[in-house]
């Protein structure tokens, strides 16, 4: 797979580990990333807050470059992805506006470029099986909540690769690595974005709600695919803990960090050592858990295999039984033919009654066979049957 690559400003700055791990992940999965030549900032929220034309023209310049490359454009940053998707939508549906924008950027603009998010590339294009096949360091025992935030899933008419209320792509990727992903209510809540800088009293409360909800859901870490969400939840977690007088201690990983780490990359290569909330220790803890779970699973598998082997053996015995049993019955019938006196005495102690039984079975080979069968299976039942035959015979005679 070959993709045009738009890292965006954050992936070379505050979200540098997202950039590093995206490149490692692409390498591992055999995706060739060709960086857009001389790309510019998409304008982000500040752009569309300030001027509509500007917010369309800035991404359009990148889309025009991607058009020339003739490749789908990967934008891992959720905000960049969203701005480019929004611009694409306008260019495709509003020919007049497309003309205006083309004149603004002084470039040809066909509207053929397509921006893709890292989640849809990983989950839908590379595929879950392919990702799972690269795992050498499974994240068994990891308890994660996947945090999508706003811009990857909303507005749905621009993004559209996942459900806007309960998205699953990231969950599927993280589960493919062996981790457990928990259900929680703040999957797509807003982290406050730049409000944590411009209006911290508002932004920090929004961060607090997300962190608290993750903790309450039983999460031990948060996984994200947005550099702004990542930075806010990671870098400002300490500040939020202080403000709300609580302790979260939740490492925040980019989904690509986990993919690359699970595929055997080093911490340094992935950027785990660049976090604010210490993130390496939890991965070590997960590694220990994974070993334990693996050992337990192996022991279980062994026990299961053993049980299955035993069951098979017992089954084989059961299969042998009818034959062996028949042999025994045949032998018993022969014994009745050879030594009927001795045989009836084995069934009935009383000599008189034994003599009657002897007469009964002499005339009735079916009854002999029945008794022989019962003697093989259950001696007691055989005796009872013999007594019953004698009693019936005596009654018959009395009549």
């Amino acid at each position: 797979m070959k993709l045009a690559y738009y890292p965006g400003c954050s992936l070379e700055g505050s979200g540098i580990e997202y950039g590093m791990s995206t490149e490692r992940t692409a390498d591992i999965l055999g995706i060739e990333l060709v960086e857009l030549d001389d790309w510019n900032c998409c304008g982000a929220t500040s752009g569309h807050n300030t001027n509509k034309l500007l917010s369309l023209a800035l991404p359009a310049r990148n889309l025009a470059i991607a058009e020339q490359m003739g490749l789908p454009m990967l934008a891992p940053c959720a905000a960049c992805y969203n701005r480019h998707r929004n611009t694409e939508h306008v260019i495709k549906n509003d020919p007049e506006m497309r003309e205006t924008i083309a004149q603004l950027i002084e470039m040809e603009l066909q509207g053929t470029a397509e921006t893709v998010s890292i989640l849809e590339v990983l989950a839908n294009q590379v595929g879950i099986e392919q990702i799972a096949s690269k795992v050498t360091r499974p994240l068994l025992g990891m308890k994660a909540v996947c945090y999508y935030g706003c811009l990857l899933v909303r507005p749905v008419e621009h993004t559209g690769f996942d459900d806007p209320e309960d998205p699953q792509t990231m969950d599927r990727i993280v589960r493919a690595l062996g981790a457990e992903t928990l259900d929680w209510s703040h999957k797509t809540e807003c982290c406050g974005a730049s409000l944590v800088t411009s209006r911290p009293e508002v932004g920090n409360r929004m961060l607090y709600q997300i962190l608290r909800n993750a903790k309450e859901a039983g999460a031990e870490c948060i996984v994200t695919a947005c550099p702004l969400c990542g930075m806010n939840l990671d870098m400002r977690q300490g500040q939020v803990e202080k403000e709300f007088n609580t302790k979260f201690d939740l490492p925040v990983y980019y989904v690509t960090e986990l993919v690359a780490w699970a595929a055997g990359e080093s911490r340094q290569a992935v950027g785990i050592d660049r976090h604010f909330v210490e993130a390496g220790r939890y991965l070590d803890e997960v590694a220990v858990r994974a070993e334990k779970i693996k050992a337990e699973k192996e022991a279980q598998a062994q026990a299961k295999a053993k049980a299955a082997a035993q069951a098979k053996k017992a089954g084989d015995q059961a299969d042998e039984d009818p034959e062996a049993r028949q042999k025994k019955i045949d032998a018993m019938v022969k014994a009745f033919e050879k030594n009927p006196d001795k045989m009836v005495k084995r069934l009935i102690e009383d000599e008189e009654r034994a003599a009657i039984l002897l007469e009964v079975i002499r005339e009735d080979s079916k009854k002999t066979a029945r008794l022989a069968e019962l003697m093989v299976d259950d001696a007691e039942k055989a005796s009872k049957a013999a007594e019953a035959y004698v009693t019936a015979e005596l009654k018959k005679r009395a009549k």
Binding site: C9, S10, E12, G13, S14, G15, I16, D38, W39, N40, C41, G43, A44, T45, S46, G47, H48, N49, T50, N51, K52, L53, L54, A57, L58, R61, L104, I105, E106, C150, L151, R154, P155, V156, P164, E165, T188, E189, C190, G192, A193, S194, L195, T197, S198, R199, E201, V202, R205, M206, Q209, M231, M235, R274, H275, F276
Partner: protein, 189 residues
């Protein structure tokens, strides 16, 4: 801000402005039947003077000035939850965006911090073609008179290679600058 409002018939001027804002936002405020789903789901409503539903109501009543002066429009984080959930298909987030831009045009900025942040952000992009994070934070702090805000993060971010003192620049900075200039000529900021 005063929560009670005087109901006055909207003047022709306000009506025209509203039609223009609706056209820019690509939505129609009269679709809204005031159910409140937008406000219920808004993660920032707790800090707003008028929650999203009330901002729409102000517009429905033709009280455009009040809406433009609402602090809410600067607290909105553009998360799009409201637009996604609106049962009437009103694009509330787009309206908020449009209101912010109109407030800038009219110089009615209730929250100077957010506007200052946006301006600092875009200044960097205009000059270098990329976000200049260090410059952005410094400029924002100076403009909002809080020189040491987030200063505790500077050094740790540098240590982690997450911020550099010097800006990243693109080759064709003139192209980006030209985009800014042309947009301004067309009547933007």
């Amino acid at each position: 801000m005063e929560k009670s409002v005087k109901l006055i018939p909207a003047c022709e001027e306000d009506q025209q402005l509203l039609r223009r804002l609706e056209a820019e936002a690509g939505t129609n405020v009269n679709l809204c039947y005031q159910c409140g789903k937008c406000s219920a789901g808004c993660p920032a409503a707790f800090a707003m003077d008028y929650p999203p539903r009330q901002v729409i109501r102000l517009l429905q009543l033709g009280m455009v000035k009040q809406a433009l002066k609402a602090e809410s429009i600067w607290i909105c984080a553009s998360c799009e939850t409201c637009s996604t959930r609106c049962p009437r298909g009103v694009d509330i987030a787009s309206l908020m965006d449009t209101l912010r831009r109109e407030a800038l045009r009219q110089g009615l900025i209730t929250d100077k911090k957010v506007a200052a942040f946006n301006q600092a952000f875009l200044n960097g992009v205009r000059l270098f073609g990329r976000t200049y994070e260090a410059g952005l934070l410094l400029q924002h702090n100076l403009k909002t008179m809080q020189p040491f805000k987030d200063a505790q993060y500077g050094l740790p971010m540098m240590k982690r290679g997450k911020i550099s003192i010097l800006p990243a620049k693109i080759k064709n900075r003139d192209q980006v600058k030209k985009i800014f200039d042309k947009v301004q000529q067309l009547g933007g900021e």
